[in-house]
């Protein structure tokens, strides 16, 4: 239904009215008819259309029409006026039908204008004109509604901070991080006296969005201009948390004015991500009285969620730390990454201050819209000595930054992002997760005490919605990260990936086989642990170790059941890796890997960088490496074993904990999800 506005008219007095094309004016003809009026007739210029309620019967429009208490005329205009009061509609009132004596005439002088606040509601990167769906937002390939990015990168390289934090520091380059919104108007050179246009937002939305306007129709595009001009002069701030409503100029004739919409907040527990921006035409009343909004056009945006990238996506950059003692590891990583053709970025000691756990301080993700996309690092509340790295080194032009601030006392080892992973795309009982599902580790929900991922981070992850999280049980591990017992690798068949799980049962099976085949005296840790000589048979004889590993297996099986259920996996989608653990009785019987934990690998396309396990040698080759290669071979994956024993394994981490990979975004667009 067209927007309909009640209008009052006076007989024997002309009324000047502005009518927005596409809307209707509704005039009760009886309300201010001259006393004694019983009939009326209507005359108007061609650009004016009208309908009568109750509708006329078969009688001609020329005849006098009976006036009743509910006689209403609905007036609309078919195109914008070129000059003010270009059109006219007159209502003539009569006492009786038989005489033509006019008791009074109500005259409307009409000015028509076209107003359309436009956005890219069909998500093709172009701001179309007056999309009929621009006022609402729906998910899916047939969905509609515009998209906004949180301007969380920093165009400033020096003295940097996320751009959305301070509008005074914005640059012209920030425009590409914002969503274009166009105000299209058509009408006379000027609006009738006192009429104005105003853009406005609600109190609730104001903390999540800012709107800027291009000051002139054409901002000079010279590079000189870019250097010397001030952003706020060329793109004045229109709406913000301080200003919820502001007049915007009417340019006259057929005009377009560009606005730039900047997202300030990611979806969170108290913010669903939707923002409405309104544009109203205001009618003057009198001095001291607020103008009346007589027409409002609105558009809806949804802020892009923060999206994680699973191991199956193509790597772009690999990050590791350089420390005084990890030369061997760095060398292995450099060889692997270079061979794969990716960039290796090293965080040097002056920055990492000895903190080597590159995986734990941050998680790479991205935000996406039809007009722009960029990576965004989620900074963990872990805040180790690597704390400054995400902000100081990663944040930059087209590289965003987001964090959640937690109480120090609430932060535990489970807040490190080795405990935050994401699955490849899955389908679960018919429900599609084309961006996969986020996985985190927590204590058993039944545990009366236990470590947990802090609530502010969990709330943030759940609020992103597009990769609905699954909570696993990781509190059984000393370090407590899910990457200690699971990872995903690409596969050419089935669902496109395999879930790899650490498995003491698979470990014992391998060791038993070795013993049966006469390799019971083969030594573990050959070359790395000079003081210890542990043979395959030693391990098989150790009843206590077997018990501990049965417990570990039951913990992993618990997660296996959850993963099968929540990711829709079959047993054939899962590969068990031969890994043994031991319990640390000082730390409440929590577990650590007994030898380098091969599942804690880095996945770079078809190449896997795996912690060198230093297992028992058979015919000069490590039996664990042989088994690992044989398991991965069938998937077309290449295993590269990296010595992380002294510099990572003995500090309770491995290759994955000590590295991080920024990957290409999904081809699949998050707004095409069917939620």
């Amino acid at each position: 239904m067209a927007h309909r506005r009640t209008l009052r008219v006076n007989y024997n007095k002309a009324t000047n009215v502005v009518c927005v094309v596409g809307s209707e004016l509704s005039v009760n003809l009886d309300r201010s008819a001259p006393p004694g009026s019983n009939f009326f007739s209507v005359k108007c210029t061609p650009n004016v259309k009208f309908e009568l309620r109750p509708p006329l019967g078969e009688s001609s429009q020329q005849a006098l029409i009976p006036l009743s208490g509910n006689s209403v005329i609905l007036i609309s205009m078919s195109k914008a006026s070129q000059s003010e009061r270009e059109d006219k509609l007159s209502v003539y009132y009569y006492g009786s039908g038989s005489t033509s004596k006019v008791l009074g005439t109500a005259v409307l002088h009409l000015t028509a204008i076209e107003i359309s606040l436009d956005v890219d509601a069909d998500r093709d990167g172009i701001v179309e004109k007056n999309n009929p769906n621009k006022e609402s937002w729906t998910w899916g390939p047939k969905g509609h509604g515009a998209i906004l990015l949180v301007n969380c990168d920093s165009e400033n390289i020096y003295n940097k901070s996320p751009d959305s934090e301070d509008p005074r520091k914005l640059k012209v380059a920030d425009l590409k991080d914002m969503s274009l919104m166009v105000l299209r108007t058509r009408g006379p050179a000027e609006l009738p006296e006192g009429y104005k246009l105003a853009m406005h937002i609600s109190q609730g939305d104001a903390e999540s969005v800012r709107v800027f306007r291009a000051a002139s129709r054409e901002v000079v595009k010279s590079s000189l201009h870019k250097i010397f001009s001030s952003f706020v002069k060329d793109y004045p701030l229109v709406l913000s948390s301080e200003v919820l409503s502001k007049k915007v100029p009417y340019l006259g004739g057929s005009a377009e004015m560009n606005f730039y919409v900047e997202g300030l907040r990611f979806p969170d527990k108290d913010f669903d991500g939707l923002i409405t921006i309104n544009l109203s035409l205001l009618q003057p009343v009198k001095a001291g009285i607020p103008e009346t909004p007589i027409f409002t056009d609105k558009v809806v945006f949804r802020v892009s969620p923060w999206i994680m990238t699973p191991n199956t996506l193509q790597p772009v950059e690999v990050f590791v730390c350089s420390t005084s003692d990890n030369y061997q590891f760095l060398k292995g990583m450099k060889t692997l990454v270079t061979r794969c053709g990716y960039k290796l970025k090293i965080c040097h000691e002056y920055l990492n201050r000895g903190d080597r756990w590159m995986q734990d301080e941050l998680e790479f993700g991205y935000i996406d819209s039809p007009h722009h996309s960029f990576p965004v690092v989620l900074d963990s509340p872990r805040d180790g000595k690597l704390d400054v790295f995400p902000y100081d080194e990663l944040l930059g032009p087209d590289f965003g930054y987001v964090t959640r601030v937690a109480c120090r006392k609430d932060v535990s080892s489970l807040d490190s992002f080795g405990n935050l992973e994401v699955s490849p795309p899955v389908t679960v009982n018919g429900k599609k997760y084309p961006l996969g599902r986020i996985l985190i580790g927590v204590a058993f929900p039944t545990a009366t005490k236990g470590r947990n991922m802090t609530k502010v981070v969990q709330d943030f992850l759940w609020a992103q919605k597009v990769q609905e999280p699954v909570a696993l049980f990781s509190d059984w591990l000393c370090v407590g990260h899910i990457d200690e017992f699971m990872t995903f690798v690409p596969a050419p068949d089935r669902k496109g990936f395999r879930l790899l799980l650490a498995s003491p049962d698979a470990g014992y099976k391998l060791f038993r086989g070795l013993s049966n085949d006469g390799h019971g005296q083969a030594k573990m840790f050959d070359g790395v642990k000079k003081e210890v000589y542990v043979t395959v048979d030693d391990i098989l004889r150790d009843e206590n170790m077997r018990h501990e590993n049965n417990y570990v297996q039951s913990c992993i099986d618990w997660n296996r059941d959850v993963l099968k259920r929540e990711l829709g996996l079959d047993d054939d989608d899962i590969i068990d890796l031969p890994i043994l653990f031991k319990l640390d009785d000082e730390d409440k019987s929590r577990a650590v890997a007994y030898y380098p934990d091969m599942v804690n690998m880095i996945v770079l396309g078809k190449n896997l960088g795996i912690p060198k396990p230093f297992g028992p040698k058979v015919n000069g080759r490590c039996a664990l490496e042989t088994e690992m290669c044989s398991l991965m071979e069938g998937l077309g994956l290449n295993c590269v074993f990296i010595d992380d024993f002294a510099s990572y394994h003995e500090l309770m981490g491995e290759v994955h904990c000590g590295s991080n990979v920024r990957r290409k975004p999904f081809d699949f667009k998050w707004w095409n999800l069917e939620l």
Copy 2:
């Protein structure tokens, strides 16, 4: 799909297992088979069911079955065990198919138990057994999911506070405000050693719910017991914000244990109203290691929203204030209310301290569930001298209390609840609102400054969801309440009601008619304003007044357009009442009623208590009263005019502002909404 749990077995060692009826155990037979095993066979007692994966072909189950890496047996039990380890399943491993030499045997001793955490998921007031939909919540008559009340009444009459504020003050009478939840178990007299049941909730839900348990199977129901027993002894607290997980007893045999679930928070911006309660069976591991949850049953509740009652619902009690100067008004109200057969409750001066605006300090509503319902007063942040009334006088047994705390500086006259109303049920473009829509008044969204209803109250109202609010424009009035220009009355036809709107146009039309009929010299305010003599013609001659009223009419028309659009009304659903306003230039040209504002009435079924307008008399009868009666007569409504001139009208309020009505709840149940 049945809940499936991965189980490890050892050959040559019996494993004791608890299996919950309805769930499956999944055992990979190859994982811990004796070395050299190539075949297996299975034997079990009748209560045990099993399936093999990959499934057996046509071959008999007696034959030896080939063992492969993915040989899995799925085990389930058909009924609860009467004693521990009553059932048994054995897997025999063989080296080759042709020999019957058994290499090893894996034996499972099985104990089956039935566990069901039950709620009233079908919303009939009875806790049924194991409703398949109890884990989710959907709206509508075909929807499902249990319902919870916020225990916001006070069973204590002295030293009172909403019961949910302090669990130590609970009484047995509080049980009826809580939702019954039953844990049904069946199995041996005791759980196998170390197994336990635990009830648990998430961190996020814990601030919104508490769970109590009946300490014994049957609490003595004598009145003596009620007086002397301690609630917390008979109904110990199980879960709260302090305790997220707690063991609960297993009673043995066929048993039911009652739990009582108490809601603590209304839906709000950061709480969607949904709460999940879990019950897990825990398997022992070893001392110092948390037990593993091997089966979890869950139920979902939604907290009842707070629901307002429109004028079309039957009144129960009418509330007014007694002040030193309102005897006349009180007398009129008493006559009206008594005649209608309702209760008049008078708030005396020692309590109201001269604050007569009973409408503004509070809003009556209710909460509802299949098992219980009670009225709940929403206390306004207005906090005038009537402030203590809702808490001190209304809060009590089966009378709840809720408020939202706002910053003093954010509170304006628009926070008074004369500015908070609700429409009767409506249908808008096919969308049904069977509980009506909440209406509030604010400034124009385009106003750069203006008064507003405070955000905490608006957030609360929107979060209730079932009466989706509509924001009207009321800042044009000095006092700024929507009840100054609109109300709803019941009607026998059309949508079951009419919207009454104050209308200066209707007022002028009436006065012009009077003048034309020779009553131009009839006096306004006859009998109440001795010093002023204003005639009908004086009013018609006053150009300035006409201008002011044109403005007022345009403000009301703006609201009329919004109401028509948002409530799906036609012009025929609206009746214009002849009321004139004047602008108060000291208060930014805001409006007040010129004579008593008849739309500000109290609606008691078919009887309307209307401010006596003191209009011009024609043949000894007030022409405004005559018009009002004639407009209402067609709807079968009876007008009673109450003199509120000196004690209310001159203080810028009228009958509605000075009264409040508690009404019966809707017959329609909020959970039957299609949202």
